[in-house]
Structure formats: C-alpha cells, structure tokens
Subunit: 360 residues, 2 copies
C-alpha cells in the first residue's frame, strides 16, 4: 500500500475554499462547502472529503452544477418545507436546507425539509452534528445513484441511501449514527479490488445476480447488497430502509429516485429518462425541550452510553462501541496530527491547483 | 406440526373486544385494542394477534396494566407532544397517541409524539396504516424489553425495537415497511427450537457471546443479533438503528430504555431498577400535501412500485417484492378464508373464555 502524507486540516480547508471560490461559488458558500469536506476528512470518512474535490471541480467546470444557486421554497407549512436547490452544490444546499429545518423546529417544535434539484451533499453525519450545536436532535438522509440491488433483484436499483441521526449527551460524547443502508459502502469494494483481496459473501452480487466474493465482479455490472444481505439475515429490511430514504428524499421532494438518480461523476452517463430534478435530501430537526427537559434528556443519554459501554464483551472484543466513537477518535487524532492523504489524492489536488491557479 | 384451525376474523374480533371489556376496559377502548390484534392476525403476523391475548389478560388481571388510563399531555408544541400513557394498554395508548400525531400534522404539516408509561402496542405497522387513511405518511416505533446484544456485546441490552413507515400509491398498493431492527424476531428462534432445527449463523449468540446455531442456546441466556449480524455484514448499523429507536421512544419521552424496559410477560421479573415509566413509543405523521401535490406523489409511488417489480430477478427467485406485499396478500386470503390458529393458541383462548365467562 502507498504511504499517506499528513496535511494540516486548516491547509486543506483553505485550499478547498479557494478552489470553490475560483469556480464561481460565492465566498460564503465556498466556506460552507469546504467545511463539509473538512469535517469528513477530520472524522476519518476519507471517501467523502478532499478525495472527492476533483469530482466537484469536474462537475462545476463542466457546468453540470450551478455555482450560484437560488434556493426556492416550493411549499411550506409551520413545520415543513420543500426546497428546490436550483442544481447547486449539495455541500451548500444541504447545510442551508438543514438550517431551514432547524429554524422551523425552533418555531414549531420540529422541522422537516425535503430537497430536490440538488447534488452530492458530503457525509450525512455532518448535518445532525450541526443540529447538536443548537440542542436539537438532527436527522439527515440523501439518495444517490443506484448501486444496490433490492433483495431478490439482479441489478442496481437503489443508492446506498444513508441515514444519520445524533443525540447529545451532557458529559458523555453525543451518540452519532451515520450509516449507509447497504451492507457496505462501495469504497470497501474498491479497496478490496486494489488490494487483490476477496470480499465476504453478503456484500455483493455479480452481473447475473449470483453472490460473489470477487470485488471485480461487483464492479463489472454487479451490485451491492442491502444491509442484512440475503433473505435469511434480513436483506429485505435493508432494502426497505433504502427504499424509505429514496421516497422521503426524492418522491416527496420531486427529485429523481432509484435508477433515475443522476451519477455524481463526470464520466458516467446521465440516465436519458428523468422522473424529477437532480437528487434529493431529507432533513429533520426535533427540539429536545419540545419533548422533555434537555438537561434530563442529556443525563439519560449519558446513562445509556455508560450502560452500553459496561456491556459484557463478546469473546475476542473490547465490548460495544457507541455509534460515533470511531469518528470522534479520528477527529481528535487528525486535528492534532493532520489529515493523511494517499499519493493518488495528493496528485488530484495538485492537478486542481495547476488548472485553477490556486496554490496547494 | 399440529394443524391450525380457521376462524372468521369477525368472530375473533368480537371475542377479543368482549374479553377486554370484561377486564374493565371501556367499550370504545376495547374495540380499539381488538382492532390492533385483528389487523395483526389478518396480516399474518401471528405472533402479535390473539396469540398474545392471554398475556394481555394476565397483565390486566394482575393489575399490572391500568384498564382505564387517563392520557396526559406532558409537553407540547404545534408539531410535537409528549404523552404519559398512565400505564394503559399499548393497544389503546398507541392508537390515541398516533391520532394526536396526525392531528398535529393536520395543523402544522407534521406531528411527532413520544409516549412514556405505556405497554406493548401490537404490530408497529398498524399505525402507519391508519395514517394512510388520512393521506399522511405515518411513522411508528416502539421499544421493548431487552433481547438483542449490541455489536461486540455478550448480553441482551436492547429490544427488537421495530420501525414502521408507509407511503400511499394511487393505483398500486401502498409501500408498508414494518421491521424489527434485529436480524430476526424472537419468534423465529422459538419456531426453530420447537421444530428441533438449527438456526443460521448470524441470528444469535449464546450466553458466552459466541455465535450459535442452537436455538436453545439463544433462549438460555443468549441474545439475538442486530440487523447486519456481525461486524463484517454491518451489525453496527442494526445496533445503531435499535439504539435510535430506544432513544426516541424512551429517553425522549421519559420511559425505560434498554435493559430497564419492563417485560411484556406475567412470569418474567420486572427489573428492580427503573430509569423511567413503562416502555415508550414514538409516532410521526407527515402531511403529504405539505411537501408535494398528493396526486403527483402517489403517481411517483406507483412508478417506483412498478419499476422495482420490473427489476431483473436474481437466479432462483421471482424478483423483488414491495415491502408490505406478503402482509397484504395474507390479509386478502385471511379475510376470505379465516385466520388459522394453532391448537395451543385455541386452548389459550378457551382458557380465557372459561375464566372470564365470555363465550368463545
């Protein structure tokens, strides 16, 4: 494996901000978009940080994403809104729509925002983390281009459609759930393929729909399996969750769902058919004090966290983690030591620097 | 296997209603509670229908459930409420709280209700089905007594904590998702044990925390595994979902969570420690027209259903089902042919008849 090199997070953030600005994104929006990528890199979700900057660069340069979108409220009620993202960066539309959900919650107790005509919005976990800052329970989902087969299907029909939600503790760290509704992320297939290693049964099928342990067979027209894998271990449940995300994000907002969701990649063909505008997101915010004294709630979260940590460990393990633990530890370490980037990613950033004239 | 006998659904419903009434439940509430059980039996969820009536009978007879609860609104905002169920039947408190969520949605666009001090509420899928009647997207969760180990844990810490949500179609049937967040329901372990058959790896661990294929080893102090089973196939995700349900239902409402959730069984000891009141539910309702023209939305659902049904089938299958298909087909068949009950269940109903004087 090639050795990664470490970069201070602030340096990556500054570079990313200037690249977006150079591509016509207004300064304030560029800062926002760079923040989403920086949080992803800090929290160890390498696939969603600056490793994706070249794709955003490609899409903006090709005019496939609008650098100066005007958000439009399509419908609204005291606790809900539907937003048209004007084909803007998901990294900008997402945080804005999430803010609207929180503002609604501040007024009405809860806020729910469905977004169409948007693009890839970074890690889903970014959004509930913002909600924690306002003492809200935050919820975020997004659909994405199809890579997952429904149970008993032999082709890609749904995105990896993640769900994220977070709950604040008082002295203990927050519980932060951020999970794809597929058995694994596509990135894990690519990693196995690069390492020349087989993948476990239950991750993927080949182009005929047979279970496969060959990562290349998944990549060449196969599909990921939903969480739960086959029928026996509950693949119908992961499929149901992925479908739920697609309906809330896309059918409810007026975006493209399932096989119609446009790819986030410059060299992948866009489906000729369309059933809506762009991809979709769905954000939720619940004001804690609308349900219970926030102090009492946070003390309960502390107690839940401590109770779960005290679970008798399964043999060969150190016992259960709390959702969000790995990302929090990565954030502490990377804030101190810098963000490790692989040579291939560094080469991409250097390419962007060359083409934009923004110094890396 | 013993042969089941068929009973008309109306007969079971009438019997159940009169049993509840005889136990001091007000007539209107008895009708409601019987409806929840009847829908479960009709939809083929045998474990949650009249097969549970003896437990409700036991709990009411022993004074462990309040037959005449007074619902109390603990807190509320335009789109949210926290309800204390006064230790009533979950079969009554659940539908009432769900109604409050829908009434909030009618006013504010969405409605979210957390409930404490309640009991087992039947199938989670019952509640979103009610929402469909009002053109809402309905959401329901409940926590339950611990039976599931968190990933890397060796003991029962979380309930099977189901999530249900439903989306209406126009010409196609609704998408109805109703799933436990464990790999399987406890009932499947019991069925394997009675049949003397092994269970698949990935369903359960034994009391030491080792994976087991022996159903008895799970029953004797072992635990179910979360959806996704071990780490490799995403057990941390099912664990995260189960934890999410526990927080929304219990930590947010003031109910007992995790290992503190009281059991729904007369002969199981109640935990000496308590962190709240009863178990908890969480209901949500979204008005479709708050987000999009309901006609347009339903046409999209029709298109999603047809698109998924047209997926190329995996080898040896007939292709993907739509969530809710098996239950809908069971409902059609059982409405016509009657509800099949096993001799053991019939004997329980006869025992209730003898003890209450209500004719079966």
């Amino acid at each position: 494996m090639p050795e990664p090199r470490r970069f201070p997070a602030a340096q990556l953030r500054a570079f990313t901000t200037r690249v977006f600005a150079k591509l016509g994104v207004p300064e304030k929006d560029a800062v926002l978009a760079a923040d989403v990528l920086a949080v992803s890199d800090l929290r160890g979700i390498d696939s969603h940080g600056v490793a994706r900057l070249h794709t955003y660069f490609d899409m903006l340069s090709a005019g496939r994403i609008n650098p100066r979108p005007t958000l439009r409220v399509v419908r609204e009620t005291p606790s809900t809104a539907t937003i048209d993202g004007d084909n803007g960066l998901g990294l900008v539309i997402g945080p804005r729509a999430n803010e609207i959900a929180m503002d609604k919650a501040a007024q009405a107790g809860s806020g729910w925002v469905a977004v169409c005509n948007t693009n890839h919005y970074g890690i889903a976990g970014y959004y509930p983390l913002r909600a924690l800052e306002r003492d809200f329970i935050g919820w975020a989902m997004t659909n994405s281009s199809a890579g997952v087969a429904p149970l008993w299907g032999a082709e890609r029909m749904l995105g990896t459609n993640p769900i994220a939600i977070a709950f604040p503790g008082k002295e203990e760290p927050a519980i932060v759930i951020d999970m794809a509704t597929s058995a694994v992320a596509y990135g894990k297939i690519e990693m196995a393929q690069r390492a020349g290693k087989p993948i476990p049964t239950g991750w993927a099928i080949d182009r005929e729909g047979h279970p496969t342990t060959d990562p290349q067979a998944m990549i060449d027209g196969g599909a990921l399996l939903p969480l739960g894998s086959g029928r026996e271990l509950g693949g119908h449940k992961g499929y149901g969750l992925g479908l739920m995300v697609d309906v809330l994000c896309a059918a409810l907002s007026g975006a493209n769902w399932g096989p119609f969701a446009p790819p986030f990649a410059i060299n992948q063909a866009i489906s000729k058919e369309s059933v809506g505008r762009g991809i979709g997101h769905f954000f939720g915010a619940l004001r804690i004090d609308a349900f219970r004294d926030p102090e009492e709630f946070k003390l309960q979260i502390d107690l839940i966290v401590r109770t779960l940590r005290a679970t008798r460990p399964a043999p060969g393990t150190n016992g259960p983690l709390i959702p969000g633990d790995p990302e929090r530890l990565a954030e502490e370490e990377r804030s101190r030591e810098g963000v490790p980037l692989l040579p291939a990613v560094i080469a991409e950033l250097e390419d962007i620097a060359r083409r934009t004239g923004v110094e890396f």
